[in-house]
Amino acid sequence: MSGIDWNDLYRTTFEDLVRFLHRKVWDAERARDLAQEAFVRALQHEPRKPRAWLFQVAANLARDEARTVIRRKKHLVLLKSETEVQKEGAQDPQSRLIEQEQWALVREALDSLSEKDREALLLWDAGQSYTEIANELGLAVGAVGTTLSRARKRLAEAYREKEEADVARR
């Protein structure tokens, strides 16, 4: 017996994991798939520190996703996404468009951060503690706050710059 309360872990972690992954792969459905994949692996491996393990595996999955173009899977995702887009889009296409534009801005702003800053920010936003972030990124706990302060400042600045540039283009 692993002693892991899977129901609790799942309930408290899944959404965080999807959000974390979404900001890496920028495909909501794919993020969900990867989160499920991470949980599937966790169920198989029953790690000692499942929450931290999940984020670590998720980060690896997202990294691999970015590194390797998995065309067929993307097709599969596309198919699923299209189905859901059809459902959702039929309800409010304009909202969806706005949402997509916002996502694009955030994505660009996040891309302007260094990898470590971005990772720290996303992990924090996904509910990881300073200690967990420190372990994940190889930082001292005291350095996590500094990293986050830099990341937040840079994100806010970059977002505003891109937003202004976007408005100027129109």
């Binding site: 959404e15 979404h22 067929r72 005291g142």
Partner: protein, 447 residues
């Protein structure tokens, strides 16, 4: 007294001071209470923090949380399939193309009994009955009924009845033959022998194999001698069909020339009648049906010019494993479904060309996911050629065995290959050359 740095301010705002050494946390709190300058800085940082998180929140998808039970079921369902991870993958994509040729093509000569011989890389233990009997449990678990029905509607297959394909064989007698007589010898279920379980406990790695805690063992390819031992072991295990004929396992498909040779050697040594494992560069012609399975003949090499049929690159080497069919009885149909497995060479995963979703140059009629949501296990693409003929392309997730697919109608052929991205199959009522060509066109050369 030194001021509080930005990092500490954020830790304070994040409620993370408790993770600091107690004395340090206490000093920071005390300082913020007493220092107006730092209190002002704290407000600036609070706004920055708030802005950043508001921006991040803009990119928060609505998360639909699937059922944990579904995931658990998925894990359980795939556990057995994962055990059967391809030898091909574990052995580092050995440099060979393996052709497992169903005897269906021989059936077209009209010499043979209606027996669908679907030969692949099955090392599943068996005695007396083939994996046809075992297959339904798996296929039921993933509920391929919908796909099966759709598939049967789609393909212009001939009348049902003559061919006993994997799933069909469990449905009862077909014609005058018993279930066992019409069973598939050597289904395409992938290896799942206990020996493999012991040596392989690896994740299929749907997206990437970068596992945080993946052990070296999991990544390690199985040593060749062990693989050979297993192949030999299987080769020694006869398959006894209902009519009493003893067959060496015809579905052993070796992935290296050495392994093939070992298998062929075993089959030969055993003198077991129905099955013949073949290896070698393909340069030969279609084999003719020979022998009476009730009086087993020795193995007979049969080779086929795959390259000619499929326009495969010249480096292609093919090994074929054939099952000699049972003698004809009564007025059995001369045609049956058939299956052919191509294994496309690659040196490592980085070099593997990922298959296209559909065959270029042919109309895509529709694309369907197989399975749902987290339990989706593949996709089916239906295509139409300019002359109106249709074919299907199946993409299965890694770890999903092709035996899950709906059975083929009589007259329908299938060509398949296993890749790190899962099995890819092409089915259509056309000859193997055309099917092979369609399959290979799914693999454009890497840039």
């Amino acid at each position: 007294m030194s001021h509080v740095d930005k990092g500490a301010l954020h830790a304070y705002l994040d409620g993370a001071l408790d993770e600091y050494p107690a004395a340090e946390a206490e000093r920071i709190r005390a300082h913020l209470d007493a220092c107006a300058e730092c209190a002002a800085r704290l407000e600036v940082e609070r706004r920055t923090r708030s802005d950043a998180h508001a921006m991040l929140a803009l990119a928060s998808p609505v998360v639909e949380v699937p059922s944990l039970e579904e995931l658990r079921a998925y894990v359980q369902r795939t556990a057995q399939q994962r055990r059967g991870i391809s030898r091909f993958q574990r052995m580092g994509w050995a440099a060979s193309v393996v052709l497992a040729l169903g005897a269906g093509w021989m059936l077209r000569d009209g010499q043979l009994q209606s027996r669908a011989l679907d030969i692949g890389a099955d090392l599943a233990p068996r005695s007396g009955v083939s994996s046809a009997v075992e297959a339904p449990a798996e296929s039921d678990a993933v509920s391929s009924e919908a796909g099966r029905a759709a598939s049967q509607d789609f393909l212009d297959g001939a009348a049902a009845g003559a061919a006993a394909t994997l799933q069909r064989s469990d449905r009862g007698a077909i014609g005058n033959e018993s279930v066992v007589e019409t069973e598939v010898l050597g289904g395409r279920a992938r290896p799942s022998s206990p020996a493999e379980e012991a040596t392989v406990d690896t994740d299929v790695g749907r997206v990437g194999a970068t596992m945080a805690d993946a052990s070296a063992e999991e990544r390690e390819a199985e040593p060749l001698p062990k693989a050979l031992d297993r192949l030999e072991q299987v080769a020694e295990s006869p398959v006894v069909s209902a009519d009493g004929a003893v067959a060496a396992p015809a579905d052993v498909v070796a992935t290296t020339p050495e392994a093939s040779a070992a298998v062929a050697g075993e089959a030969s040594g055993a003198g077991a009648g129905e099955a013949v494992a073949l290896t070698g560069r393909v340069d030969d012609q279609r084999a003719s049906a020979a022998g009476d399975s009730s009086q087993p003949a020795g193995p007979e090499a049969r080779r086929r010019q795959v390259r000619e049929a499929t326009n495969a690159p010249p480096a292609v080497v093919a090994n074929a494993a054939l099952v000699e069919p049972a003698p004809a009885r009564g007025n059995a149909e001369a045609d049956a479904s058939r299956s052919l497995v191509l294994e496309v060479e690659a040196t490592d995963d980085e070099d593997v060309t990922e298959p296209l979703l559909s065959v270029p140059g042919h109309e895509v009629m529709d694309v369907t996911n197989l399975g749902e949501g987290s339990t989706a296990w593949g996709a089916r693409v239906r295509q139409r050629m300019a002359d109106g003929r249709r074919f299907e392309v199946f993409h299965l997730e890694p770890g999903i065995d092709p035996s899950i697919l709906p059975p083929m109608e009589t007259g329908v052929g299938e060509v398949s290959t296993e890749t790190p991205f899962g099995w890819v199959l092409v089915r259509g009522a056309m000859d193997d050359a055309e099917l092979g060509d369609l399959l290979l066109r799914l693999f454009p050369e890497s840039p």
